[in-house]
Each structure stands twice: as C-alpha cells, then as structure tokens.
C-alpha cells in the first residue's frame, strides 16, 4: 500500500475556513430542517479538490460544535486516511463486507473537536457493489441514530464510474465541487448523471478561485 504524505489540513479557526463556514450555512439553509441528511461531496472528475472540501467542511462543522462523521467513500482511490494520518483499515469496506460494527472501525479524532472518521478500509475489487449495498444504507441510518449532526461522504468523481451516482441515490444531499477554469462540459455531464439517478444536488462549490479567503 502506498501512502501519500498529505498531512495538510484546514485550521477551522483560520481565515481559510471562511468559505466553508459559508458553505455550512448555505447547506443548512438548503435543507429546510432536514439537517441529518448525509452530505455527499463529489466532483465531475478527479483533481477538483472534493476530498479537501469534504474534509474542510467536516472540520469546520466539528469546530462549530456539530457531531460530525466523515466517511471516505472513495473506495477506488481513498485519501482521507492520509489527510489525518491514520490507518486505512479497518474502514467502510470491512463494515460492509465483513459486517464489522461501524463503531469499531471509527477513528475518533478528539483533537479535531470530536470529528469521527470512517476510512475506506482495505482494497476491494468490487467498490461499486459496496457503495450501492443495503449495508451502506444501514450504516448511514446507524449514523443518524448515533445522533451525528452531520455525515459527510467523500465520494468518487461522478464521471469516473457509477459509485457517486449510487451514493447520491442513497438519499444524500449532494454538493458538486468544480474547479475554476475547468471545462464546463464535464460538469454538465456529471450533473446530468446525478439528475438521472434522482440525486438532490443542493449546489456547487467553486474551488481554486483566485485571491485569498478574505478577498472571496
């Protein structure tokens, strides 16, 4: 297994967190009181920054006092375990395939205001089946029962396969991260695919905008 040394995270107290506070308020406003719905963070294609956005959103929500569960559902190319420098396994794959109790797979990151992380788990040859499984839906239901205020799913890119569509169809609210300067057509195709599966896309996050957080 190869780990990327990507241990850079957003400080929720910094000015860089401001766009994510805005995002948190906007998502809350769009939910009309249905605040416990999982939030799926995806993007049209890889490299748009969805994992960074998902992680930063989870950190800011946790800093605001929410009980947050961050799930690495990008089983084909998971990265959140490298963000937080924790072991990749056990994780979602073990919870679904081996029916491991989710509570036993969680990383409780107390230094991040109680943020809980469910990593992707070990490598699997059938990620599509896992993300579309009833067991995953049960895990999300379990998370609601555990009174998490916010469940954030870091999803694979929409155009990379059917995984994101399957996750979106599981009843999550969807935020699509688009990279500023990226081509419009992939974003349109991704939104079209999400629409096909009946996903509730609450809005876009434009990543890599020019300027500093205070300028934006």
């Amino acid at each position: 297994m190869m780990f990327r040394s990507k241990r850079f995270l957003l400080d929720p107290g910094s000015r860089s967190a401001e766009p994510f506070r805005t995002l948190r308020l906007a998502v809350a406003a769009s939910r009309n009181g249905n605040a416990r719905q999982p939030l799926l963070v995806t993007s049209p294609s890889g490299g748009d920054g969805k994992s960074t956005v998902a992680t930063s959103y989870a950190l800011v929500s946790a800093a605001a006092g929410d009980r947050v569960l961050l799930v690495d559902a990008h089983l084909r190319n998971p990265s959140l375990h490298t963000f937080f420098d924790v072991a990749r396994s056990p994780g979602l794959v073990e919870v679904v395939e081996d029916e491991l109790d989710p509570a036993h797979a969680l990383h409780q990151l107390t230094e991040f205001n109680g943020l809980d992380l469910l990593t992707a788990g070990c490598h699997t040859s059938r990620p599509g089946e896992i993300v579309a499984s009833r067991r995953l839906a049960a895990v999300l239901t379990w998370a609601r029962e555990q009174l998490y205020d916010c469940v954030v799913l870091d999803s694979p890119p929409v155009l990379a396969g059917a995984d994101a569509g399957a996750l979106a169809a599981a009843g999550a609210d969807v935020v699509v991260v688009v990279r500023r300067g990226a081509r419009r057509r992939p974003a349109a195709e991704a939104l079209g695919e999400l629409e096909l599966v009946g996903a509730n896309v609450v809005g876009l996050v434009m990543n890599r905008c020019e300027g500093t957080p205070e300028d934006v």
């Binding site: 297994m1 957003l10 766009p19 906007a26 081509r183 974003a187 876009l204 890599r208 905008c209």
Partner: protein
C-alpha cells in the same frame, strides 16, 4: 479539444463565420476599387555583342550577352533611362508623364534576352514608354562608349487589356480565405473560453444551481506525523481509536 468539438463549434457558428467572411470580402472589394489601376507593358530585347568567331567563342559570346542582359537589367532598374526616355518621347508624351512611369528590367534566365517593362496608370502610356525603352538603352550604351554591344527589339510591347494591379479576383480569393481562417479561429477561441467555468455567477446560471461557496487557495496547516502512523513500520489498523495529535503550523514544533 477533439476534432469533433472543433467541427461542432464551427458548424454552430457557421452564420457568424460566413457573415464575417462576406464582410471582409466586401471591404476588400471596396478598397480594391479605390486603388488606381496600373497597366504594365513589356518589350523583349536581345543584347548582342558584335564580335564573331568560332563555335567556342560563340558560346562565350552567349554567356557574355547573358551577363550583359543582367547588367542592363540592373541599369534599367536604377532609373538610368529616365532622361533619355524623356528625350526620346519629347513631343509624344509630356515629360512628367514619362517621369511618373516606372521602368524595370528583368533578364531572361539562361538567354541573352531582357524584358523591359513600363508601368503606368494609362495602358497606352505604358506601351509607348516600353517601346521607347530599347532605343533609350541603346543610346545609353552608345554614350558609354561600348561600341560592341547592340540592343535589338525582339518583341515590341502591346497595349495591355487588363491592369497589372490591383488584381481584384486574387484579392477577393485571399480575403475569403483569410476571412474563413480568422473567423474560424475566433469562433474556436471564443468557444474554448466560453466553455470554461470562470465566473461563479455564470456557472450558477448555466447549471441552474447556486454556487454555495467559492474556495480560494487555502492556507493549510500541517499535521505532524505521530508514532504508529502508516509508514512508521507498525502494522496498519493498530492505531484506530482516540488520538491526541494536534494542529501545528509549518515551522512550529510539533
């Protein structure tokens, strides 16, 4: 951008390309008609050396005549015939008309022949000046003391029917080609820029979804490695559970 994308963009904006090209062609036609036409008449002359000899010396004589033709072409290009042409055509054409007529020489490659061309706004003037040029050149040769060279008119000039410039048909063809290329390139460039997600408001309007946040370049902090982390030699999975690491900024002690 695939070839198909380019083709589709061009097809979608075909009207713009056609109208733009038509406008350029019309402008070219208009400005071409404003240009005063110039007629060109040419006379073909042979430069001969009078010395005779055997076959070998004849070959040398041809080579010498060829070089002479080149030399005389340069003399004609230098404008050396001006005053002699005015003298030659005194009483036929006004001196200022002759002065305004451009005379140029073009040697025929490999032969002892020389084209002398005259360009004027009048076809008849061009022909008259061209026909007078061999005589003027002969006078120049005689005045220079070169008695062995002779300038013989091989083909007198004819009155040109069409102006040498501007070439309206050629200009219109070039304008059409340039118009198609430029407008096509403009369409592709505009399409490439328009197809990018630059402005959040436009992206929002385009997709019918709100842009919930604009994330700039983030200032991230570094999480220091801790014992038992992946890559530290301990087996993966042994570290699940509560952690006590904290944020540290780059440069700060962990």
């Amino acid at each position: 951008v695939s070839t198909r994308d380019v083709y589709r963009a061009l097809w979608r904006h075909k009207l713009f390309i056609l109208v733009g090209t038509a406008a350029l062609v019309a402008a070219t036609w208009y400005f071409t008609t404003l240009v005063t036409p110039t007629y060109e008449a040419s006379v073909l002359v042979r430069i001969q050396q009078l010395e005779e000899g055997d076959v070998t010396s004849s070959v040398y004589a041809l080579q010498a005549s060829e070089r002479l033709a080149e030399t005389y072409a340069e003399i004609v290009d230098a404008g050396a015939l001006g005053s002699r042409l005015r003298d030659e055509l005194a009483g036929t054409l006004p001196p200022e008309t002759v002065r305004d007529t451009e005379v140029a020489g073009h040697p025929v490659e490999g032969l002892d022949l020389l084209w002398i061309g005259a360009s004027s706004e009048s076809a008849e003037t061009a022909r008259t000046v061209a026909d007078a040029a061999p005589g003027a050149l002969a006078d120049l040769v005689a005045d220079s003391g070169t008695v062995g060279d002779r300038v013989v008119t091989v083909k007198p000039a004819a009155v040109p029917n069409e102006p040498a410039s501007p070439d309206l048909a050629l200009n219109l063809v070039i304008a059409a080609a340039v118009g198609l290329i430029l407008n096509g390139a403009l369409v592709i460039a505009a399409e490439a820029l328009r197809d990018r997600l630059i402005d959040p408001r436009r992206a929002s309007a385009s997709f019918g979804l709100p842009v919930l946040a604009r994330v700039p370049s983030l200032s991230l902090v570094r999480l220091e490695p801790r014992p038992g982390a992946p890559g530290d030699g301990r087996p993966p999975g042994s570290e699940s559970g509560t952690r006590t690491a904290a944020f540290t900024r780059p440069g700060e002690p962990g």
